[in-house]
């Protein structure tokens, strides 16, 4: 097995899966019916990306596993998603801040990944880039409205941006694996678009009248399977039914 490729596809797939899981929690709880539909669309897009990427990871693994085997039967320490994806939804502003940061990252990532020498990754990226452009736009519209809305919404938006900030460096970090794969033209090294990410996100924050969050301690560990305490609960919900009936088809 091409361990590097497997690991890389898994990372991207886990990001999308965990993000989709969090987005799914908003359905029937959004501030407006139109927003239930919008967030549902975003969650569905993310889930679609997850399924494509996990299915590909399973194929590369070559052990006869499926997307579901990977999603439901791996333990927490085997999940390689970014910590930002697993953070609890908080209020609407926290979710929107998380979406701004994460979709901003995914957009730059997929945009470059479209030229991957790996045909499957290029294909997934080609479809996903349009979706995440919309996600980033949706987040932008809300950051503007919440930041420059009422005093309360401004305070909450600032709090959301600040709360999610310590999880952003991990998104933009490089490591040996990604450098190897990027050198081979397969993957995209996020550190190569970090400046662009800061510029785009910074512009939105500025326009919203919020303040760019200050430098702070940055969390990491997701890529090594070292998650935050939220992850255990998330996986318990996600995996419980499937694990209660091992080998069953749904």
């Amino acid at each position: 097995m091409n361990t590097d490729l497997y690991t890389y596809a898994l990372r991207l797939g886990d990001d999308a899966l965990v993000a989709a899981q969090r987005m799914g929690e908003w359905i029937a709880a959004a501030p407006q019916l139109e927003e239930d539909v919008a967030l549902g669309n975003i969650g569905l897009d993310q889930l679609g990306q997850a399924r494509s990427l996990l299915a590909y990871a399973a194929e590369v693994e070559g052990a006869g596993h499926t997307e579901d085997d990977l999603a439901y039967f791996r333990d927490e320490r085997e999940f390689t998603n970014l910590l930002i994806c697993e953070r609890p939804n908080g209020d609407f502003a926290v979710t929107i801040a998380r979406l701004l940061y994460f979709a901003g990252y995914q957009h730059l990532l997929y945009d470059a990944l479209r030229s991957s020498s790996d045909a499957t990754l290029a294909g997934v990226a080609g479809k996903a880039v349009k979706e995440v452009a919309y996600h980033f736009d949706h987040a932008t519209q809300w950051v503007l409205r919440l930041g420059d809305g009422t005093e309360e919404s401004h305070a909450r938006m600032q709090a959301g941006l600040d709360a999610m900030w310590p999880y952003t460096a991990e998104m933009l970090a490089s490591d040996d694996l990604v450098r190897r794969l990027a050198a081979a033209g397969v993957a995209v090294d996020p550190s190569t678009f970090a400046d662009e990410w800061h510029a785009r996100v910074g512009d939105v924050v500025d326009a919203s009248t919020c303040t760019r969050p200050e430098a702070s301690y940055q969390h990491s560990g997701g890529r090594d399977g070292k998650h935050t305490e939220a992850m255990g609960y998330l996986l318990a919900e996600l995996q419980h039914v499937a694990r209660s009936h091992p080998g069953a088809t749904w």
Partner: protein
């Protein structure tokens, strides 16, 4: 003169449109019916939405998310139709939140297992389709058109529910037992979705005369049972009615105990309090968001005016 045109249109099976003259009672009945239909869609998002995070395969998770999202969309179409009658969505939501308007009692039952999601698609959406297809020919144009759009999407939902159960029934012993248990709990409440028996139904006669209601409760209930019994056989599940028997082209069934329906409608069902509390919480928790968006829009238009 308007009243004659109204009656002529009804008698000719035509459509009444938003600004046509109509009896006030017709308008009020429609507002109540359409709004309660809309409320049902959005409350219905909860029992199914509960299982999105726990769906046992990614494909099922995606299908369920799409289904619940469709229901939000249906709620939107229906509120839009109700608004053509001169009432605001915000007022309708107030009526729901304060308990002055109702939603379908079926959504006051809990979804306890994954199989319940299958049962809801098969039985509850199945019953809804039987109720709703005739509404596509309702006399009030906007409602009829909303129903056409909704019915198209609803038939997917029913098939998906059936497919969930079919997979369970052909799976492990535990899965099959899960499916039978879900049927046992959802069968009678689904029959009650068609409302009280005809001889106890107060609104029906007038609604029929106005082309809002096309068939009686008992007729539709019988139609549903006739459709569903053969489907249960395909699944290999037993309908929990010892009195079920085939006679003269129909499946005769035991009349449900409607006291349960009346109790649930009154508020004494397993989930009434939670459903409404969750709905109100979503609305109240979202107030600051809606206010922010309105404030932003106001600022933008003031800026435009001063720039002009």
């Amino acid at each position: 003169m308007g009243a004659d045109v109204f009656q002529e249109t009804i008698d000719a099976d035509g459509r009444i449109e938003p600004r046509d003259a109509m009896p006030d009672a017709y308008r009020k009945t429609l507002i109540r019916q359409i709004a309660q239909h809309a409320h049902s869609e959005i409350i219905g998002m909860q029992p199914e939405g509960n299982w999105i995070t726990r769906a046992p395969s990614l494909r099922r998770k995606a299908i369920l998310m799409a289904k619940v999202q469709d229901e939000a969309g249906h709620g939107l179409y229906l509120y839009a139709a109700a608004e053509t009658l001169g009432i605001d969505r915000a007022e309708l939501l107030d009526l729901l939140h304060s308990g002055r308007q109702k939603y379908s009692s079926i959504f006051n039952y809990p979804t306890l297992t994954w199989a319940d999601i299958g049962a809801i698609g098969w039985l509850v959406d199945g019953a809804a389709i039987v109720n709703q297809v005739p509404l596509c020919r309702c006399s009030y144009g906007p409602y009829a058109r909303a129903m056409v759009r909704i019915c198209k999407e609803e038939s997917f939902h029913q098939r998906q529910g059936f497919e969930i159960l079919y997979t369970l029934c052909n799976g492990t012993g535990a899965q099959k037992a899960m499916a039978q248990d879900a049927l046992d709990r959802w069968w009678w409440p689904s029959l009650m979705m068609f409302g009280p028996p005809d001889d106890e139904s107060t609104h029906s006669a007038q609604s029929m005369a106005w082309g809002i209601k096309r068939h009686s409760n008992d007729e539709l209930r019988q139609r549903f049972v006739d459709m569903t019994v053969p489907q249960a056989e395909v699944l290999g599940l037993r309908i929990p009615d010892d009195g079920l028997r085939y006679d003269d082209g129909h499946w005769r069934f035991t009349q449900p105990d409607f006291t349960e329906l009346y109790e649930v409608v009154k508020g004494n069902g397993p989930c009434n309090a939670e459903r409404l509390a969750n709905r109100v919480a979503a609305h109240e928790n979202g107030a600051w968001v809606r206010e922010a968006a309105a404030a932003y829009a106001a600022k933008q238009s003031m800026t435009k005016e001063s720039a002009a």
